[in-house]
Subunit: 341 residues, 2 copies
């Protein structure tokens, strides 16, 4: 039995408490300052408010002020913050975590800088905290809702230290939560991040057909599959560019597959495919947090800097560069079929 | 303007006459002995009977006895026979085709032998006809129905001779039919063949959920995506094993995506996922030609021979080997989640 402290009571983090509790671990959930209501609701109802799903009865809940108390005796920490919460985690929460306590991060994304570098979240956190951090991360196709519904899910835990990864897998693996291990943090995290722009592209084919034949028309899969194939080609190139292992393309492909059918990114992709500008599409989706837009924008921003320096050929990434232009409001979406190669 | 002779009036072959005719080529469609009714119907109605879709008004139709007449002045031949018709093509039709007339084959599949070799259809035809054959083939995610509906479709023409491929592309490319070219025949054809077993596996997740929650329940995508990712991993290994270029994994991924949503293979995968034996599932689908079952069975048969000789580790292909057992009637389908690696 391990003592696991989850920081951040969002959907994915709390969904992870289900396999963790199934293995008899002690779970302490600490909300961020934005999670106050979620924590109060969970204390009373044992449900996660945002996704309205049952959580383990054994979970203990803490507001952020009790972080130090919750961390006492922790075997490892799960960070459940979204990419928007990374700097809060870095500055407000991580300093409370003892140096030798391993961390498992669910945060998806890459951080870009003015030089066009793209850094994984674990690397970004370790560089900025200024001390060694035994940080691992989760990749692979797994949406929070379906994990909370105990659906068969395959993920990859990645990190520098295989012994830590094995300890975490033993704590978390169940008959429906299947965990592979990898020390290729760059490969796994790139795969996870890149799928965002491409999921917008694949789902835009649904909207493009609706623009021709009316909403609710029968779906067509040749166009989606054509974009899916080109997406895998471009994601393979990105993986190589950023130094990830080529075989992790399978994570990107699986993650793209699940995201095409996921809620928010799919809805945005369909609206863009219908010909809406990004501004109009986001207005229709008001109130929805679009992490995918932020991640896609950062990735393209970095690629543009590298392209300007002649380090990459943007023609190798026709979908990604076009989605970047669409997200910047430069044009509406017109799939560049003739540029696929 | 080219003169293009299509041999075999099945769905995919006749769907190809739409982009071909759009470019002003002269199209002659010659039915196999099994296509008599399709040809008569098309002569009268300009529609393909099996898929009930409109064909170009300019198409000319011939019964098989008029093959030599139809071949007169042909710039290239498209073979539209299914994998079940390959030996008919080899023995009855190809001897009529002049040696220097290039052929474009739509037939999907690999041919296995007692030594566990897997050969592409172009290689099989050339080896058996006993003379050089300028044969190209089509890969990539494109279903006949959607091509006939003029949906955006991305395919790859592969062959030994780039000049021939370019001539064919020029004849066939349109604003919705996008053609990449490749000289990696093995890679393209393997990608196309392998996706069959894996499409059964991905769609089985739909049936497995229905077995728990009832038919028509809400779909879950974590399980499908987990299998999809492992499928990409296994297909990459197969590509390497058979000597295809690794980058053609994008064709396999795109083709798998479209097949998951295609009609017949999806229906079989769902039935197997519900727990039906292959015999019971095929009984429910009576009358349906299941090329995918035949292709998957051949691939697994070859792998088993290689595994018995210690040339491959079957544990590298847990999904494929299990699907092989299911198709042989040895067991019902239980996804080997724990063996994914």
């Amino acid at each position: 039995m391990k003592t696991i402290v989850l920081i951040g009571a969002g959907m994915m983090g709390t969904a992870l408490t289900l396999p963790a509790a199934a293995n008899g671990n002690r779970i302490r959930v600490v909300g961020t300052p934005l999670d106050r209501e979620i924590i109060e609701h969970a204390k009373k109802t044992h449900r996660q408010k945002t996704m309205d799903r049952k959580l383990p009865d054994e979970n203990e809940y803490y507001q952020i002020e009790a972080l130090d108390e919750a961390l006492e005796g922790a075997d490892f920490v799960i960070s459940g913050v979204s990419s928007f919460g990374v700097d809060w985690l870095l500055n407000e929460a991580l300093p409370h975590v003892p140096q030798d306590t391993p961390i498992l991060s669910v945060t998806k994304g890459l951080v870009d800088d003015a030089e066009g570098r793209l850094e994984t979240i674990p690397a970004y956190l370790e560089r900025n905290i200024g001390r060694p951090l035994n940080i691992c991360a989760i990749g692979g196709p797994c949406t929070a809702y379906e994990l909370a519904d105990l659906r068969q899910s395959c993920v990859t835990f990645c990190g520098k230290d295989m012994a830590t990864l094995e300890m975490m897998r033993e704590a978390m693996q169940t008959g429906y939560y299947h965990i592979s291990l990898s020390t290729d943090v760059t490969g796994v995290e790139c795969a996870v991040a890149m799928k965002n722009a491409y999921a917008l592209a694949v789902t835009s084919a649904v909207g493009a057909l609706e623009a021709q034949e009316g909403e609710g028309c029968k779906e067509a899969y040749n166009p989606q599959a054509g974009i899916f194939g080109q997406a895998v080609r471009e994601m393979s190139r990105m993986l190589r560019l950023l130094g990830g292992k080529p075989e992790n393309i399978m994570l990107a492909a699986g993650d793209l597959y699940v995201t095409v059918y996921g809620g928010r990114t799919r809805r945005l992709g369909i609206l863009l495919g219908r010909g809406l500008s990004i501004a109009d599409a986001l207005a229709q989706l008001s109130g929805v947090t679009l992490e995918s837009v932020s991640i896609a924008t950062r990735t393209v921003r970095a690629l543009r800097i590298r392209a300007a320096r002649g380090e990459i050929d943007p023609a190798d990434f026709p979908i990604l560069m076009h989605i970047g232009d669409v997200l910047d409001g430069k044009c509406s979406l017109h799939m560049p079929w003739e540029s696929f190669r």
